[in-house]
Symmetry: C2
Subunit: 265 residues, 2 copies
Amino acid sequence: MSDKRPIGIFDSGVGGLTVAREIQKLLPGEDMVYFGDTARVPYGTKSRETITKFSVENVEFLMRKDVKLVVVACNTVSALSLDFLKRCFRVPIIGVIGPGAKAAARSTISKRVGVIGTNATIASRSYEKAIKKVDPGILVASAGCPLFVPLVEEGWLKGSVTDAVASIYLAPLKAARIDTLIMGCTHYPLLRKVIQEAMGRNVILIDSAKEVAKEAEMILSSAGALNSQSRRSRQHFFVSDEPSRFLKVAERFLKRRVTCVKSVG
Amino acid sequence: MSDKRPIGIFDSGVGGLTVAREIQKLLPGEDMVYFGDTARVPYGTKSRETITKFSVENVEFLMRKDVKLVVVACNTVSALSLDFLKRCFRVPIIGVIGPGAKAAARSTISKRVGVIGTNATIASRSYEKAIKKVDPGILVASAGCPLFVPLVEEGWLKGSVTDAVASIYLAPLKAARIDTLIMGCTHYPLLRKVIQEAMGRNVILIDSAKEVAKEAEMILSSAGALNSQSRRSRQHFFVSDEPSRFLKVAERFLKRRVTCVKSVG
């Protein structure tokens, strides 16, 4: 069996490209349609109702592209709106919270896990609930890091300001003596070095992007829906704002040239 | 003559409340309708087309409230979309760029003016053009300060991180030996102390909010359209996202309690 339809991925902006990249690496035969809501980014400072409304529109867009699976690459949407999306649509939909939480639960030895994310993600306690579902004995400490996304978008991936912000945000997690930290926002892996430095090198950093790629593979494979095509796979990128800025940042995220961007909305 | 219709004000979010406050101080008899597009904030990182599209929708909303004057409180919209809005709508529309530029041209003695704002505002060179129109002999130095808005929204109005960010962004303006600096974004007056410290106390800071209030008074007064009502004036606030966060920040901006917020969109 083989399902030649593309995998759909959406994010509030460019951050979800880290997820797109991991899926592409693991499933190079799959076609992909990516949607970034760059006209309305960021989601992480907004309310659940607004985030859910935007997300429904994003899934509808992907449905019109006839996708076989929707991957919610945005942590904020996964945390606040995934259950609603799953109830709404018939297509299988996966988010980044579950896979990230499971990986952290597997990784921790001291049973002390940290989570960082946008304020909306942290306030939802979604990672905490997902981790406790795997192992109620794990202690979870969390911290919202709202300045991390603007720092990444500004390109300040290192330097004294970024170090100082990281050490302020991460101090409570250091004090909680965690041994595993979930980077619960697609932008944060770009700050991996700064975060690792602030936490100390013994703390294991979990990148949900890699985990959700494995989940996508498992779902498609068990449904016999992997793409067995022999031709080169195709990636299509769509954004709601004008594409030029997306293109520039996309190359930083994907580490290769991107051409097929269309503006919608 | 008297025109009892309200003044309409819109902004991408809460920042325009600094403008609302100055108008209220100068024209306490005027009713006011404020719209903050908190579901789609910020505008300053987006393209002209998207900003213009959102702005047209915002003016249409205010038109339905039967306003006699539209004040574009957002620097980014004033810089990128004001001309288009003026061509589109019959209601008088004023922005913050012209008044701020005029005040800076009046203030400078050395004929060296600085401008700070979002990347979109700075890239548009709107302040520069407006200043040169008043006096082509004035040298204008500009700097985008994209981290200032997130710092204000995070409430980090002082401290070592904010000081460091300010000194990095403002270094080229210091080197340009300006004597007047336009704070070309409604959030920046909340960082006034930090900015003043970084620039040195001899540099005069221009807050466009105060200037646009004077322009509003002039326009209404010369059209005989000031409100001569004897009852207390009314302010109505509308936002596109859920109101609770707006309410909290609104009180920081307006320095008084705010109650009448409705969510639209």
